[in-house]
Amino acid sequence: MKILWSLLVLILSTPTFASLKVVTTTPDLAWAVKQIGGEEVSVESLLRGTEDPHYVDAVPSFIVKVRSADLLCAVGLELEAGWLPKVRGRAGVLDSPYCEFGSSIDALEKHEGPVDRSMGDVHSSGNPHFHLSPSYLAQGAEAALVELKKLTPEKSAYYDKRYKDFVERMNTFEDEIFQKLEAINKRPFLQYHQEFTYFFKSYGFKSAGSLENIPGVSPSASRLAQLSLKLKDQNVALVLAAQHAPLATLERFQSLSDISFLRVPLGMVEGKHETYFDLQNELASEILKHAK
C-alpha cells in the first residue's frame, strides 16, 4: 500500500509540461510564436508556405485544428479575410483567444478615406506582407506575446525575456543581411505585387514600383509595355515576385524591358526552411546572385 501511495505522490509531484497549443496561419508566425513561447507552447501552422495566403479555401482540416487550439494567430490586415472568418465561425472560436500580428505593427501603405474594390486588392489598414522583414515580424509578434501572457500569466516573465531576446536577434540579423545586400541596394528594384514593400524598407532597397497597376490585378499588355519604356534608363536591378506569380507575365516583361525577374518564396516553407533565418539567407543570396 505504501508503495502505491508513494507512486501516486511521485506522479502528482512530477512537473507536467502541459503546453499551450497555438495555431497560426503561416509558418513564419508559427516560428515566431515558438521563439517567444519556447517549451511552454506547441505550435502548428495551417498553411505550409507554398500557398498564396489570400487565395485559400476554408478546408475541413483547418476547422479541426483551429477548434482544438488554445490560441489562434493570424497575419491580419485582411490578408486571410476570404477564409479565416469562415474557419473560426465553423470551429466555434469567434470569441476564443486570437491575435493578429498586423495589429502590432506600424503598417505601411495605409489607406486614408474610403476603400472599395475598384481599387483592387487594397487593404485599408495597411499592406499585410510584413513578414519578409525581420524587424516588422518581431514587432508583430508582440501581439502573440500579449495573448500568451493572458493565457498563462504565471509565465509572463519567461515570455517577456524570450521576446526581448527574439527582438534583439531579429534586429541584429536584419543588420547583417542589410550589410550583405548593401552592394546592390542602391539600384532600384521592381516588385510584381506589393509583397516586398517591407523587405525593401528593411534592407534599404530603392523601389521602382510594382508591375501590377491595380493591386491583385494582372498587368495588361499595355501596362507592361509602358512600364518597360518608363524604366528603360533607370538601371533596374531585378523584378522580385512571389513563387506563384504568373510566369508568362514576368517573361513577357523581361522580353520587353530586358529586366530579369526572380521568383522567391514569400515565407518559410515547411520542409525547406528550418528557421526564418534560413529563408532570409536564401532570399539574400538569390537576390545577390541574380542582381549582378
Binding site: E51, P60, G82
Partner: protein, 364 residues
Amino acid sequence: MKRGFSFFLIFLLVPFSLQAQLLSQLELSLAGDLVYNQGLNKNSEADESLSMRSVEFGVSAPIDHQFSGYVSFASHENEGAEAVEVHEAYIHNAKLIPNTEFKIGQYFLGVGRLNRFHRHEWSFTRAPKSHRDFFDEEAVFDTGIETRTLLSAKHFVELTLGVTSGYKYGHSDAHEHEEEEVDHSGEKPHAPTHYMRLSQFIEDSNSATSGMEWGLSYLGRTDAEGEKLHLAGFDFVKKERVGRKLAWLIQSELWFKSLKHSDGDKEEQLGGYFMLEKGHSAHWGTGLRLDGLMDLSHGHSGEDEDSVYYGVTLQQTYRSSEFFSTRLSAAHEFQRMEGSTRDQDTRLMAQLIFVMGAHPAHDF
C-alpha cells in the same frame, strides 16, 4: 425655435447612428447570376432570353456569444415575373456540443455536393439532369435541424445528420420546374425528410489548401400521399490550387433514387455527372462535364427498354477576380430509348456572376 430644431436633429440623428451601429455589425452581401440560354436545335427547351436568374441578398452576424445567424433572400425570374423568397434563415452554433456544430431554421440540406452550395457558387451554369430530377434546378431546402459532428480529428471524418419538416421537397418557388418529382404540395408528410452524409477530407501533401473530399449521403421522405422517396449518393471533389490558380478541379456525384408509389409501383433511377476543369491561369479555366441518367424501372412505365439520358457540356470560365466571373458553355443532352435518340437539346449558355459587399467565403 432653436430648441425645437435641436430636438428635430437629435430625433433624426439618433436613429441613424443606431442604424449605422447595427449595420457595422452585419456582414452584408449581394450576389447576382445573369444567364442567357440559346437553343441550337428545334427541340431545345432553352428560353432564349437574357434573364437575371437570381439575385441573392445575404446577411450574417453573431446573435450572441454562442449563436450566429444567417438570412438570405433571393429574387428569381419566373416566366417574366419576379418572385422573392427566403432561401436560408437559420441560427448556427458550434460551441454547445463538443466537436459538433448545428443549425436550426431553413437551409439547403447538407447532402451531396451541389445541394450544399448556392447556385451562383457552382462550377458550372446548369445543373446536371440527375440533380434536376432528384433534387431541383437549384437545390432542396427545408426547415429543420442539421448537425455536423467530427468523428475523427486525425482523419477529418465528419457526420452530418438532419431532419426537416418534409412538407415540401424542392424549391419553394416554381422557377424552371420541369420535373414532376419536385413536390410543392405543402401537406404534412407521413415521414419527414431525414438525411445523413458521412464525409472525409484528405489533405494534399504539398499544399494545405489542396486536397480531396468524398462523401456518402442518404435522404428519405414519405409524402402526404404515401410516396416513399429514398436517395443514396456518393460525391467527390478534388482541388489542386497553385497560388491564385485553381489548377485542377475534379467533381463528381452519383445518385440512386427509389420512389415507391402508394399503389406499390416503384421507380428506380441511377444518375450522376463527372466534371473536370483545368485552370490555365488565375483567370481562365476550361471544363468538361459528362452527365448520365438511367431509368431502371421500365416495367412501371410500360416501356420495353430502359431509357438513358446523356449530357455533355464544354465550358470556358473567365474569373476577373473573386467577385466577378463569366462563363460560356455549350451543352448537348439527349435520351436514348428503344434504339433511337429522343429529346435532343443543344444549347449555348452565357453566365455572368457578381458579388458585392462582404468578402465571400472560400469554401472547399
